[in-house]
């Protein structure tokens, strides 16, 4: 079967990409490995979605349903309970190997692909947490799924490592379901989650937040029995004498998300060590012609609304690529992250594509109540924008007008903190 476009992943990103990629002349397939569309939104039963995109506050599932309703009547093929296991490019065609219980393992071909496969949670092993390795330690998202979709509590006395939103949301969620939540620890001196979540998840329930703390020991043979919390210094080394023991049977980890793009053994594309996702240009095309990426599979977002916006752009770009026989350009301007900026996306500007402006997504590496974002091209400052209350946990955006771009030198963005 030959398609014009195969979209891998039917969560917030895949759905938005599909909506804008759609054209009656195009043969499009969306592949989703779960039983239904919606991705991670299905288990995010809390509020906070849609404020930007729909001007309404919605829960995750409601946000998912809105998106699904916008595509369910389109003349496209949607395969659920189907998992992509490999992609290979031969000549100008992608061969996507996938599997389901209906057809078994089989290959479908496509002129283009949108990679919207989401992200996975960083594991205990990846952060090399010391201590025993009993049952009772899991990523916060896994506990969220067990609780919200299957109806099982993973423990009775919980501690949470990581003050990212997943950790904060789960602190409240577990407390509401009758679990004792003894605290949230965060290795940074400030929280990683949305401020509103600190209030409505921790303050509301008197759950203590231990900033500049990490877990220095884990005890338990079959099942977790206790953890030790230690304060850390500016270099994140544990400070002796600051140990606090907690009797818990569950430790939830909210220590970061990583784009889920490892399962494609036969296809390689340029990736960024900073985002762990693909390097893309402003059309969200990767270093492989016809391969686009968007959503958490490209870089980790904190708001589903931004995932939707970005993926709608990627979908539109894929459509343009197909309908206007998009050529892969080889001359790019590099976009770089400079002082106090963790990463900027896109990482490349394809100047042969027509565009009036490009929206840059980026994150700061340091907190700042007051400051300036400054964009340079070579030695020349070409733009600046005031920054207020910026934190690494919240993605920022800047629109860069094309007319400001003079040369072909690399463009860099930095963050100057004044307060």
């Amino acid at each position: 079967m030959n398609y014009d476009l195969i979209i891998i992943g039917g969560g917030a990103a895949g759905i938005a990409a599909l909506k804008n990629a759609y054209d009656p002349s195009l043969n499009i397939l969306l592949v989703e490995r779960e039983k239904s569309l919606g991705g991670i939104l299905k288990q995010c039963i809390h509020n906070g979605f849609g404020v930007h995109h729909y001007n309404e506050e919605l829960t995750g599932p409601e946000y998912a349903v809105r998106g699904i309703e916008s595509v369910e009547n389109l003349d496209v093929e949607i395969l659920t309970e189907t998992t992509v296991i490999d992609i290979e490019k031969k000549d100008s065609v992608f061969n996507i190997r996938m599997t389901n219980t209906h057809d078994g393992e089989h290959t479908r071909s496509s002129k283009s692909i949108i990679l919207s496969s989401g992200c996975y949670e960083r594991t205990r092993g990846a952060i090399q947490l010391p201590g025993d390795r009993p049952a009772g330690i899991m990523p916060a998202g896994s506990a969220q799924r067990y609780l919200n979709m299957e109806g099982y509590l993973v423990g009775k006395k919980v501690f949470i490592l990581g003050s990212g939103d997943i950790g904060l949301i789960m602190a409240r969620r577990m407390k509401l379901e009758g679990t004792d939540v003894l605290g949230v620890a965060e290795i940074m001196p400030y929280s990683n989650g949305l401020t509103r979540n600190i209030v409505q998840c921790l303050h509301d329930f008197d759950i203590p937040l231990y900033l500049s703390h990490t877990i220095s020991d884990i005890r338990g043979k079959s099942r977790l029995e206790g953890i030790t919390l230690s304060e850390v210094d500016e270099e994140f080394n544990t400070i002796e004498g600051t140990e606090k023991d907690f009797d818990v049977d569950t430790l939830l980890l909210s220590v970061g998300l990583i784009p889920d793009i490892n399962m494609f053994e036969s296809l390689s594309f340029e990736t960024s060590k900073k985002t762990n996702g693909a390097v893309v240009d402003q059309t969200y095309q990767t270093s492989v012609e016809g391969l686009f990426a968007c959503g958490n599979a490209l870089h980790v977002h904190d708001l589903a609304d931004f995932v939707t916006e970005e993926s709608e752009k990627a979908g539109k770009a894929a459509k343009t690529f197909l309908m206007e026989n998009g050529q892969k350009n080889t001359s790019f301007i590099d976009l770089e992250a400079s002082n106090n900026i963790g990463y900027v996306l896109p990482q490349k500007l394809d100047m042969d594509q027509p565009f009036d402006s490009v929206e840059l997504s980026f994150r700061v590496t340091t907190k700042g109540d007051k400051g300036v974002f400054v964009i340079h091209q070579g030695d020349q400052e070409i733009m600046s924008k005031k920054a207020r209350f910026v934190v690494p946990a919240e993605m920022e955006k800047i629109t860069l007008k094309r007319e400001l771009i003079d040369t072909t030198e690399p463009i860099s963005i930095r963050f100057e903190v004044t307060k």
Binding site: T99, E105, G125, Q128, P134, L147, L153, I218, S222
Partner: protein, 481 residues
């Protein structure tokens, strides 16, 4: 009444059990954990050493070299994976070169085949990412890497196929002997009678010995080793197994490519009192990192997916302690099995049966012994044709459960239903690799739990992670009691 009771279902206990089933004997293997291969056999470097470093004339030397050779046959017979990538012992100074040359002499004396000394240029040609400080290398091409879980399972499954009885989750609590008969009492209160006991209880061989001997002739001195596991997608930075020049402490901190593509970095070496303490420590991991970085600075530590600790059952003897008890007849100790235990396991089994047992006992052949065992043919290891056929027969092969290691529902159902069943999450990981990949079960664990619950007809809240009582789900919500 049994002819033999084997205490301990690690790689050595199961190898001995299998060797015994070649004869017309009745045997029972007892294991205190809830699966085979739960302690030292589970947590080691997976290397089948060449036999280059044990002292010549020792059991370690003889049985390592023989075991290395036996693995070549067993690869096909028992359907176990072998990565034949060879090894380098790496010298980085004149002093180390001297010790390396002695090691080479020792290897030759032990009968290690095809080993040779390579100069710096040759070494770097074959292993470009080696630390440029390398001056000389001992090439040990007979060194292999296997999959100790699979080896142990294969031994056990084949032994059971051939008549071995197996009791897991059963701890030996008492041993008595009256006339020529042992009575072995277990934690379930049962008394088993046997003519002979093989004590292959790893770190607990000392505890077993003390149950019946007045003055045990060995003492277990547990020695821990911590490891990093690097994701298989980062493989290729090192191709050979790399050893530093060894010290009195042991082989040192190694870099070991694994059969499925991961790379193990470790182990450290430290004595501890508790044989079951397998925690990871900041210091231990830091030592491992420092040591391994001496071999190459190209280790992608940002691709670590897991850390673990193994405890070696080292003893007060330098060599393996494999002998009949001096106090109690027909009690054979297979103790002090630290490195090269895995490498020597098949040879240890033959030594116990052919040298120790046959010295006083006539063993009649078992005419129906079938040496061959076929493991689970995982879907992702099949050819396209085999996959089509397998799917036609069982469409559950189309339901991908573990996206990282490409494991299907049918694979997992097979793993649950082997004759040594995998009914814990870790047991499934051992047999099918579900959960062994980069997300460490983050995606597939809930599905694995449901499959175990379904196949074993138990509530999901009673599915265990690893050992007894290690339930993952505490309770169901919104159910009025």
């Amino acid at each position: 009444m049994y002819d033999y009771i084997i205490i301990g279902a690690g790689v050595v206990g199961t190898a001995i059990a299998r060797e015994l089933m070649k004869y017309d004997v009745s045997a029972l293997m007892i294991e205190k954990e809830n699966d085979v291969c739960n302690h030292a056999s589970l947590a080691n470097s997976a290397i089948v050493h060449s036999g280059h470093d044990p002292k010549p004339g020792t059991l370690k030397a003889k049985l390592n070299v023989e075991g290395n050779r036996l693995y070549e046959e067993l690869e096909d017979t028992l359907d176990i994976p072998l990565l034949k990538n060879g090894a380098f012992v790496v010298a980085q100074s004149e002093a180390e070169e001297k010790r390396l040359k002695s090691l080479y002499e020792r290897a030759l004396e032990n009968g290690v085949k095809d080993c040779s000394i390579l100069d710096r240029e040759e070494a770097l040609k074959r292993e470009p990412n080696l630390n440029s400080k390398v001056t000389m290398v001992l090439d040990l091409p007979t060194t292999k890497v296997t999959y100790p879980w699979e080896v142990t399972l294969a031994n056990a499954e084949n032994a059971i196929e051939n008549g071995l009885e197996f009791k897991k989750s059963t701890e030996v609590t008492q041993i008595e002997k009256t006339d020529d008969v042992f009575t072995v009492t277990t934690s379930e209160g049962t008394h088993y009678k046997t003519r002979s006991i093989i004590n292959a209880a790893g770190a607990f061989t000392g505890v077993i010995a003390a149950m019946i001997e007045e003055h045990p002739k060995f003492e277990i001195t547990p020695r821990r080793g911590e490891y990093f596991v690097i994701d298989r997608h980062a493989k290729g930075f090192i191709n050979h197994t790399l050893y530093p020049v060894p010290s009195e402490k042991g082989k040192g901190i190694l870099i070991v490519p694994q059969v499925h593509g991961e790379t193990l970095i470790g182990p450290s070496s430290e004595f501890q009192d508790d044989p079951e303490n397998i925690d990871n420590t900041k210091d231990g991991l830091s030592k491992v990192r420092k040591g391994a970085t001496k071999l190459t600075d190209k280790i992608p530590f940002n691709k670590v997916i897991r850390t673990f600790t193994g405890v070696r059952a080292s003893s007060t003897h330098k060599d393996f302690f494999i002998q009949e008890s001096e106090e109690v007849k027909n009690l054979i100790h297979v103790a002090g099995i630290d490195s090269p235990g895995l490498s020597a396991a098949p040879a240890i089994a033959k030594y116990v049966v052919n040298t120790l047992i046959k010295a006083n006992t006539d063993l009649r052949d078992n005419p129906s012994f079938n040496p061959r065992r076929k493991g689970i043919k995982l879907f992702n290891q099949m050819t396209d044709e085999e996959k089509k056929e397998a799917f036609r027969y069982d469409p559950r092969h189309g339901n991908l459960i573990c996206k990282c290691e490409k494991v299907t529902e049918a694979d997992i159902v097979h793993a649950i239903n082997r004759n040594v069943p995998g009914d814990t999450v870790k047991g499934i990981k051992k047999r099918s690799r579900a959960g062994a990949g980069i997300c460490q079960g983050g995606y597939c664990e809930h599905n694995v739990i449901h499959l175990i619950a379904r196949e074993k007809n138990k509530p999901v809240t009673k599915v265990e992670y690893y050992d007894e009582g290690s339930y993952i789900l505490k309770s169901e919500t919104k159910v009025k009691q």
